[in-house]
Subunit: 560 residues, 2 copies
């Protein structure tokens, strides 16, 4: 063994570069597959998966994933092939997070709320060779397959434990998932990438316009974000984790892998329904769930007969829009502790987290909730977070007021967009991932997201954060949900227009009530000039569709 | 941006390899420097360091490390240069763990118990360009410098807060550490490696014979082991960690970096002394310490007036020899919870940990202690652990009885030995790191270390684990410490020879007492034929020096 390696940048080698090469003993491509292998070796008898009456130990889960990888290999699936799965949070989808990459292939977990045309686009763009579909989505998948040119092998997940009242479509595939597994070898090779930069997953953004983009994850980022989650969110060994967050959403923010790294129990869930969630939290001692703000709202507004009390504190990690103070307070009364994070599909889920700070101790609930509504500080695997002025690309002052775009870089940023070098180059311009989200930097360094670039309202040349107006609206005792967008204005250019869903079972407030409420809490130019009542349109992941509301606001004509 | 990358192994590129390259936005060389940068940005006002009456916040610590890096750069120190530090666990040594690699250089933390000749060998072998030395070790360092050909710049750490009664030598350097720091820029560049395979630290093994070997660590391994420690040992955010383990020992098992990753408080300690340790644990709410078994013994046998009770549970991570059941039980009575791990300098410290298993719940203290004395299962960053037969290199059966050598591989195995390609090649033969430690594999997968290869006693062709005999001796109510080695035997080839230190303040047992005690607990061929009373010789890191005892046993002549 004699060799000299520099770092490939023409830097002169030193004595620390000589005869000290990588080899199999000291270099291992990082991959989350190793978390399962370790859990199965270290804790084979621990329960890995709960699904209705089913229990899989880590030995069981490992054997099923090895079967899956082996069965895929037998069908010729290997490095760079795409395996698509469309399913709720059931064991098969969790198993695909290991079995598919063990075969060298790439997992494409499809958002279950998509329409057939979009699914068809995805299957073609991803060049899916296998599709595994839960019978709940057999119909839309059959429609999608009829529209696309891909001709994948279709496998049904024939659910034995549907949620109460759930309708399952007839089977559409060549065989069912358990039959497919039975063909695999439970002691087949564990696999693993030759290069940690190899792709592990492909997640399509739920773009509000145009075709979705395929975000590619690599093994290195998946390993690091999962281990980073265990460290940052302090997952206790053997925790019980309930799957309220869709696994198709950034691979469940990498908790599909992180919970296994902690040798915890994955409690499956077919439907985000408080009447299912509360009993599972109580029965299994669940201490962590994740979800969009809509999950919090569902838990808060669940009918009394669906709620269950539980003795442990259950942490809730929530992303997307900042949870309003009232939501945080209501969750605490129910036994939940809310942590707020920020991330995107492109960052494997959460990249910035609002960790409690020392100076929160003296704050009352409102003060604490206001601070918790911020997005916080970079996770351990995110190297840098900046907030920069759009025009100059220079950091905004940390004054809590000046708005700029959030830029990120680090080891848990995507490989790029599949077959879309232009979008990748735009997103990574000048060596930073440009999120398109607008934020301020507070004097203590904490980042607070103010809006998507396109959601900011510009009235008389002043920026209005729609989130700030929404925060005021959410505090109104009769408001359940609210969203604010720009309406064209004859005088100011734009004015804030509020769409409001009143709480069920109370007399709805009037528009004047709502406007008066906001006047007491906001600068005058930020107060909505228009208030519209009714349900809010949502994306398939529970985000409010502001582009729909913007169209509605435009249709109202100019305010004056 | 158009490109195609395979994995360099001639594997055909797929669509997931095209236009999806590494770049500064999505690829960041892993380095523990980032933990400090993040802690300083996220929690600038948190206390990072406690040393006597001194308090440094994370903002302070970051500024001091940036000063150090900047001052080193001004002296021409850069990539591949060695900076040696010989100091107890004081802030300067912690700062060197960041400031030295920030300058691109390699930290060589020198064992403070070494003699001048060995230090001279190390300074020459490491080609040290800077030596930073605490005044407590000025004399031995001056002797070492007089013997070696290296002519480093010498800087004194002029301790203002010595331990009670501590003697400090006169200064021997060109300037003192604080003066050197003052020359640096507190806002200087953070630095960081261009390649995560770059060296970060150089740790010499305390070889029992021959020259010590220089174990080289890289940034990747340091980052991964630190983050792995946070995850595996569940470090709470902002924990208080007391430095009972020398930072020169595998860089404090990477806790120098892990505690910072958790934005915790490093409580410094100049001397491992129960009269200092107990008050610091109580005063700062310390919840984690690490150390060799000798630290546990010191805490257990501390005089009553030095002990302090504390309300929290303080975890103790211990390595080296398995702690005897009696030690584990005594520690629990004092408010400590012992976790047992196994590792080597070559594995950045702990690589295998004895995590509690589900079936421990029903066990009494003795049963639990017996299980805890095992070494356990691989940490999350260790890819594989094997126990193999020396002759065939095949895995031994998991029967808890067949002894083999522990092999490891993964991302937290050293780069190799500096300027020693033969030793590196031997250690990494066939792609596995060969530890030279002997163990059995239990049916539940857990590994239990039985001995160093050279410590096994072969009597009449039967292997005797010296650890097993020692475990029996430690249970004797009058035994404080014990070590067993081979004595030449006229009939059996070798026989077990016990060296025993009785507990202070009790009437020492007789040799016959001890032998009778062992007969009740061990197979007859394992019972010591010889018992010698007295203090045990120890290495500078507190390990019992079995080679000294072996010499003494040989000097006794053949047993019969």
């Amino acid at each position: 063994m004699t060799s000299e390696t520099g770092n490939g940048n023409g830097i002169a080698p030193t004595m620390f570069d000589r005869d000290l090469d990588r080899g199999p003993a000291n270099f291992r491509p990082l991959t989350p597959i190793d978390f399962l292998r370790r859990a199965a070796e270290a804790f084979p008898e621990r329960v890995a998966v709960v699904h209705g009456p089913l229990r899989f130990t880590y030995a069981d889960l490992a054997a099923r994933c090895r079967r899956l990888a082996s069965a895929l290999r037998k069908r010729g699936i290997g490095r760079g092939d795409t395996v698509a799965v469309m399913a709720p949070n059931v064991p098969a989808l969790l198993e695909a997070h290991y079995g598919v990459p063990m075969a060298g292939a790439v997992l494409n977990a499809i958002n279950v709320r998509l329409d057939a045309a979009t699914i068809a686009f995805i299957l073609d763009h991803a060049e899916a060779r296998i599709v595994i579909v839960d019978r709940a989505f057999g119909k839309v998948m059959a429609d999608a397959l009829a529209r696309c040119s891909a001709r994948p092998l279709v496998i049904d997940i024939d659910e034995r434990h549907p949620a109460p009242g759930e309708a399952l479509a007839p089977r559409i595939g060549r065989m069912d998932y358990e039959t497919f597994l039975a063909d695999g070898d439970p002691a087949g090779p564990w696999g693993g990438p030759a290069d940690e930069w190899d792709a592990i997953a492909l997640n399509y953004t739920s773009g509000t316009t145009g075709n979705p983009k395929g975000v590619v994850y690599h093994h290195r980022g998946a390993f690091l974000n999962a281990l980073g989650n265990v460290a940052a969110y302090q997952l206790p060994r053997h925790l019980a984790y309930l799957w309220t967050l869709p696994m198709f959403h950034c691979n469940g923010w990498c908790f599909t892998w992180a919970v296994t790294a902690a040798a915890g129990t994955h409690v499956c869930l077919r439907r985000v329904d408080p009447s299912l969630i509360y009993p599972l939290i109580a029965e299994h001692g669940v201490t962590l769930i994740c979800g969009a703000p809509i999950v919090l709202n569902l838990l808060i507004h669940a009918p009394d007969d669906q709620r269950r009390s539980f003795s442990q504190t259950c942490r809730v990690l929530t992303g997307g829009a900042a949870p309003p103070s009232a939501v945080i307070a209501a969750m605490e009364r129910l036994g939940f502790a809310v942590t707020h994070a920020y991330g995107l599909t492109e960052t494997y889920g959460p990249a910035i987290t609002c960790f409690p700070q020392a100076d929160w101790d003296g704050l009352d609930l409102d003060g604490r909730a206001a601070r918790m509504a911020r997005q916080g500080l970079g996770n351990p695997t995110v190297a840098d977070v900046r907030v920069v002025d759009a025009a100059t690309d220079r950091d905004v002052p940390a004054d809590g007021a000046t708005i700029g775009e959030i830029l990120l870089r680090g080891s848990t940023v995507m490989k790029g967009y599949l077959k879309n070098p232009k979008a990748t180059a735009d997103a990574f311009r000048d060596g930073w991932f440009r999120t398109g989200d607008l934020a301020v930097r507070h004097p203590d360094g904490v980042v607070e997201v103010k809006d998507r670039s396109k959601d900011i309202i510009i009235s008389g040349g002043e920026n209005i954060s729609s989130l700030e107006v929404e925060e005021a609206l959410y505090k109104h005792p009769k408001v359940m949900e609210a969203a604010v967008v720009a309406r064209p204005d004859a005088h100011w250019g734009e004015s804030p227009c509020a769409f409001v869903t009143p709480k069920p079972g109370v007399e709805p407030p009037s528009a004047d009530d709502v406007i008066a409420w906001c006047r007491d809490r906001l600068a005058r130019f930020k107060v909505p000039r228009t208030v519209v009542f009714g349900p809010l349109p949502k994306t398939s992941t529970g985000k409010i569709q502001k582009f729909v509301l913007r169209d509605r606001a435009k249709a109202l004509g100019e305010s004056r």
